[in-house]
């Protein structure tokens, strides 16, 4: 493999992972834009999305029907889109419920109080995922060893789209990630820019009290924000599980920190910032894996996070007029 090919391969990995991170980062940045809360539980909502996806796949027995000759078979794409919607709605709903039960009563409390509560929710969800991993299903290893990582089956055919001879591998999974994440991002941008509820979000982000005085139902806006953020996280969890072929009850901590770093890197509160930040973090991870060492990659990402917070807390897009949501 030539140097260029190695580099191209890492770019593909980086972009694919980066798009997933960007989806999760949108959830952080939207909630932060509206109520200035670091929704620490977001990563663990993401985890539960992955567990639901595996449960559905296990229940449908899809693992059994996948074989390399089914490229033309659209049923796997259908299954994938179905999973994205089901897990998205599930995570969105859960996010809304968490907001109602835990965050809403604390809306006027000091920020650190809210953050500690969010960490508490995060721990409760981690425990739920641990119990879920013990579900007596074949895909969960029969319910023994709940804490172990679970294999997530290949839903899409895995051969190289660039031809068998190419050293650079581009698989259907990479394509699927772009097919799913890009429309979601475009849809979100249009929604925020064009719709009435989106306008309400922008107004609430700028000034909640003034927005309320203008007749905007801020509670509804906040609920919608949690719903959309959760939906994107759920969609991301399906793509993540598919791409990495493994899920574990602690995966949300890692993914959540990457995504939060991405949101901060792009300028927290900014939608395009989260998207760009996500892709950048994906690329940084891939390059660090290749050119530094895999075991130092987390250190690199956290180092980036600390450096940005210290030297440029407003992030890359922070100086411009923020499009907070």
């Amino acid at each position: 493999m030539s140097e260029t090919e190695v580099f191209m391969q890492q770019v593909i990995y980086g972009l694919s992972n980066g798009m997933i991170i960007a989806l999760v980062a949108l959830g952080y940045t939207m909630v932060y834009g509206i109520i200035e809360l670091i929704n620490f539980a977001h990563g663990d909502v993401f985890t539960l999305g992955g567990f639901l996806a595996l449960t559905v796949v296990g229940a449908l027995g899809a693992a059994a029907i996948v074989d390399p000759g089914t490229l033309g078979d659209s049923s796997h794409w259908l299954l994938l889109f179905g999973l994205v919607i089901v897990c998205g709605l599930f995570c969105g709903g859960m996010n809304v419920a968490i907001d109602r039960i835990v965050y809403k009563p604390l809306r006027r409390a000091p920020k650190l109080t809210q953050l500690v509560a969010a960490i508490g929710v995060s721990f409760i969800l981690v425990n739920l995922a641990l119990f879920w991993g013990g579900a007596p299903m074949e895909v969960f290893g029969g319910g023994n060893a709940a804490a172990a990582s679970k294999d997530f089956p290949e839903l899409l055919e895995g051969s190289n789209l660039l031809g068998e001879d190419s050293n650079v591998v581009l698989r259907l999974e990479d394509i699927a990630i772009f097919v799913i994440t890009i429309p979601l991002m475009i849809g979100l941008t249009l929604f925020v820019k064009k719709t009435r509820l989106g306008r309400g979000m922008r107004a609430t982000a700028q000034n909640p009290v003034a927005a309320q005085l203008m007749g905007i139902d801020t509670n509804r806006v906040i609920a919608a924000t949690f719903m959309i953020g959760g939906f994107l996280g759920g969609a991301a969890s399906v793509m993540w599980s598919l791409y990495n072929n493994t899920i574990s009850f602690q995966m949300g901590f890692r993914a959540g920190m990457d995504a939060f770093t991405a949101a901060v890197l792009g300028g927290i509160g900014s939608l395009p910032g989260a998207m760009i930040g996500g892709v950048l973090i994906g690329l940084i991870r891939a390059m660090s894996d290749q050119y530094i060492e895999t075991r130092w990659t987390n250190v690199v990402v956290f180092g980036v996070l600390i450096l940005i917070l210290v030297f440029r807390p407003s992030g890359l897009l922070g100086l411009k007029q923020k499009e907070k949501v």
């Binding site: 650190l112 960490i119 920190m257 600390i306």
Partner: protein, 341 residues
């Protein structure tokens, strides 16, 4: 500042320390419990939480990476005392120097970051915790990686021999160290510096108007908290006779310390001690004993997650945090409106 009569400890602190001092007696009554060993961890985490309390409770800064300083203390202690390194300064010097190194590490992290907004600072400390953990794991030439550095020395006094055979003595030495630290904290609380911390916590701008430099006060709090955490780390390493693996000092430990501070009663030394007994007693003493008992009776060995009490840790921590925040929402920052009587 109290009645003006000198006393080593407040009444509450005396009661809690006295209660701790009685636990080895339970071992005499029911030898199969073997409480003295696990109870050392209660002391260790009480010291860790007292350190965190300086930062979170008194100064109002959320530190989510206190376990990193515990790790730094543990590894500093190990390198200073272990046979594989040339220093071998012994338990007491090892613990003291570990504390000093911890303070320096706290200063190093705090100096560039303490100006950050509260929630950003929290995330930076979290990131620092992860970096330290990964760094220890990835530098096996120094830290022995996941093996941990061992064996490490136990505390010794001129007259008293301490070993695994004499758990009660070992526990009492730890308890004495805790008592000294409680005494120091109590004096610090009402010192000039302690009052500066409260002022900064309540209103930074007003504190500045009173000629307090918030950045300096915060940095001192950070360093003091880190020093105590490092001492806790040193005692922990000596307790295990090994640093253990770096993941012993993960985010969960930082959250355990936070739970202790919040559940016990934020900002009060007595509260933190009570919190340590409740949370660590639950986590390191009661749950393992319950698990063993269940297993001995044939329950919980079936591999079902729900039947092992140990698997409820996260939900216990989580609920503790959520419920405290919900029903004492001002606790974290405004806990001591009536500090001075």
């Amino acid at each position: 500042m109290g009645s003006g009569r000198f006393s080593l400890f407040s009444r509450g602190q005396l009661v809690v320390l006295g209660f701790l001092a009685l636990t080895p007696l339970l071992d005499l009554a029911i030898p199969s419990l073997q409480l003295s060993g696990p109870m050392r961890t209660v002391v260790v985490f009480a010291i860790l939480a007292l350190g965190l309390n300086i930062v979170v409770g008194w100064t109002g800064l959320l530190n989510l990476g206190i376990a990193a300083f515990m790790a730094i203390g543990a590894y500093a202690f190990a390198i200073l005392t272990s046979e594989i390194y040339p220093f071998q300064v012994g338990f007491w010097w090892g613990t003291l120097l570990a504390g000093a190194i911890g303070a320096f590490a706290g200063w190093l992290l705090g100096a560039p970051t303490l100006r950050l907004r509260g929630d950003y600072l929290a995330i930076v400390t979290l990131g620092f915790g992860e970096i330290v953990q990964d760094g220890l794991k990835n530098l096996p030439a120094i830290t022995k990686g996941t093996e941990g550095i061992n064996p490490l020395p136990q505390p010794s006094l001129a007259m008293v021999e301490v070993s695994g055979e004499t758990p009660a003595r070992w526990f009492y030495i730890y308890l004495a160290i805790l008592a000294v630290i409680v005494f120091l904290c109590r004096n610090l609380e009402f010192s000039r510096l302690g009052r500066q911390w409260f002022a900064v916590r309540e209103d930074e701008l007003a504190a500045r108007c009173m000629a307090i430099e918030p950045d300096k006060a915060k940095l001192k709090a950070f360093a003091a908290g880190a020093a105590l955490a490092a001492v806790a780390g040193a005692l922990y390493a000596s307790h295990l006779s090994s640093t253990g693996e770096p993941s012993n000092y993960d985010f969960q430990i930082s959250i355990l310390a936070l739970c202790i501070v919040i559940v016990g009663g934020i900002g009060t030394i007595t509260g933190v001690l009570v919190g340590a007994i409740v949370m660590v007693g639950l986590n390191n003493v009661a749950l393992p004993i319950l698990t063993q008992t269940l297993q001995r009776n044939g329950i919980g060995s079936t591999g079902n997650v729900l039947s092992s009490p140990d698997n409820y840790k996260y939900v216990l921590f989580g609920l503790a945090l959520v419920l405290m925040m919900r029903f004492r929402p001002d606790g974290l920052i405004h806990s001591r409106k009536a500090v001075r009587k």
